[in-house]
């Protein structure tokens, strides 16, 4: 492993100043992706900036009006261990329990999952479905972007020089709202999604008012399948509507063939998983 230096800043400002002008600096949260990548020489790194001692990156707080603030370095076990999260965002608690295994969840964070920007990131389709926003900090101050805009290519995102993800903000769930993420893996744990589907529904008076669908592992980035969600708006939840959304998801997918699956198989899974996730979300509303 190449040599790197280590810094553990205590504030966002200190972190930004450490990152600024150091293109070889990397933010460390759980390290479950970063350290593997440095060790296997997939990423170079001269300075590891440990974000875990920065209060804002460790924040986990829920406000019934404003929603959830999820610090970028909050490890998965804190997310599914949090009563408010489990009650207001059961799908988020569940996805936190999908990332890696128990020991990985002791370290890995949802923020890290997003910043790693893998197309297969399990948390990201759900974050998109939940309508989450990213709060970034950088030398030029802060900015907020929608999660679906964050990833730009495999392993790449729109974080600029000196910029870091501070936290995610997830809107408070409206009445009749439910979300669900399903992925397909050959094993039952410790695996990378062959495909994944994160969905959300807001059902009012028996009609879908709003829906969002996002997909994992079927595009260069976690994919916001806008058309699949829009196909559901105004429809009655049920097999017909879900089938249409599933087909829209299949059409939106542009996967590749690799060791995890073929193009055809992944497109097929998109439809299956989207339908199953919608069914699960609809069950949750009722």
């Amino acid at each position: 492993m190449q040599w790197f230096d280590y810094a553990a800043p205590r504030s966002v400002a200190e972190a930004v100043s450490l990152l600024d002008g150091r293109p070889d600096a990397r933010i460390l949260a759980g390290g479950t992706d970063l350290l593997v990548q440095i060790r296997s020489r997939r990423r170079t790194c001269g300075l590891v900036v440990d974000g875990k001692r920065i209060p804002e990156l460790n924040e986990l707080s829920f406000d019934p009006a404003a929603g959830l603030t999820l610090g970028a370095a909050v490890p998965c076990y804190r997310i599914y261990g949090d009563r408010a999260v489990r009650s207001a965002y059961p799908s988020l608690a569940e996805v936190a329990g999908l990332i890696g295994g128990t020991a990985i969840q002791g370290r890995a964070s949802i923020g890290g999952n997003l910043c790693n920007s893998a197309p297969s990131a399990d948390a990201v389709p759900l974050l998109i479905a939940l309508g989450a926003q990213c709060r970034l900090a950088g030398p030029g101050g802060g900015r907020t972007v929608a999660v679906e805009q964050f990833c730009t290519a495999p392993g790449r995102n729109l974080l600029g020089a000196g910029e870091l993800l501070v936290s995610l903000r997830i809107p408070a769930p409206a009445p009749g709202f439910a979300a669900h993420y399903l992925r397909f893996i050959p094993r039952n744990e410790m695996d990378i999604a062959v495909a994944g589907a994160g969905v959300s529904l807001r059902i009012q008076d028996g009609v879908i008012r709003e829906a969002r669908v996002a997909l994992a592992s079927v595009a260069p980035v976690p994919l916001f399948a806008r058309a699949a969600g829009e196909a559901l708006a105004g429809k009655t939840p049920g097999p017909e509507a879900f089938h249409q959304a599933a087909e829209a998801a299949r059409a939106a997918a542009s996967p590749i063939t690799d060791m995890r699956g073929t193009v055809e198989y992944r497109r097929h899974l998109c439809a299956v998983l989207t339908r199953r996730a919608l069914e699960a979300a609809a069950r949750e509303v009722h």
Partner: protein, 161 residues
């Protein structure tokens, strides 16, 4: 300038310190700097669980923790399970159930299972399997490991006042 870092931590309840390179993992620091070789390396990327240790009350794969991150932390390893000459109920159950063959994964399983039973004294078989899915064993097919954890859970329950 490349310089090592002085880390003060606590391992198995005892204060400990070591001087490490920032790139050294907690696993390397435990094994090579603290002579605690009970924690094993199987994959060095978090997928086998042989290096599982407890860190501030949570289990982590120590290959994916930097030694420098242990500053101020409480670390628990397999060497800390037994109390003097008295084995931990899990250690006894692993032996009585023949839950190890080659034994290389055993430290990781023991540390992980201990954390589970401390958190959930009566886990179901499915829960044990889920919790331990981060730990690979290639010898046993897991059957006897699961049974050992179940036995230890029963015995720990009976031993409680």
């Amino acid at each position: 300038m490349q310089s090592k870092v002085h880390v003060r931590t606590a391992i198995n309840g005892e204060p400990a310190e070591f001087l490490c390179e920032p790139r050294q993992s907690l696993l390397e620091c435990l094994r090579d700097l603290c002579n605690l070789t009970g924690t094993k390396e199987g994959c060095n990327d978090g997928n086998c669980g042989a290096c599982t240790v407890e860190m501030d009350g949570r289990i982590v794969t120590s290959c994916l923790v930097l030694g420098v991150e242990a500053e101020g932390a409480q670390i628990g390893t397999v060497e800390g399970l037994a109390r003097g000459t008295e084995l931990h109920p899990l250690q006894k159950a692993f032996l009585e159930n023949a839950a190890l063959q080659c034994g290389i994964c055993t430290p990781g399983f023991l540390v992980a299972a201990k954390a589970l039973l401390e958190q959930e004294p009566e886990p179901s078989e499915a829960r044990i399997r889920l919790w331990l899915a981060n730990n690979l064993c290639r010898c046993t097919g897991y059957d006897k490991i699961i049974r050992a954890v179940q036995q230890a859970a029963r015995e720990m329950k009976e031993a409680r006042p």
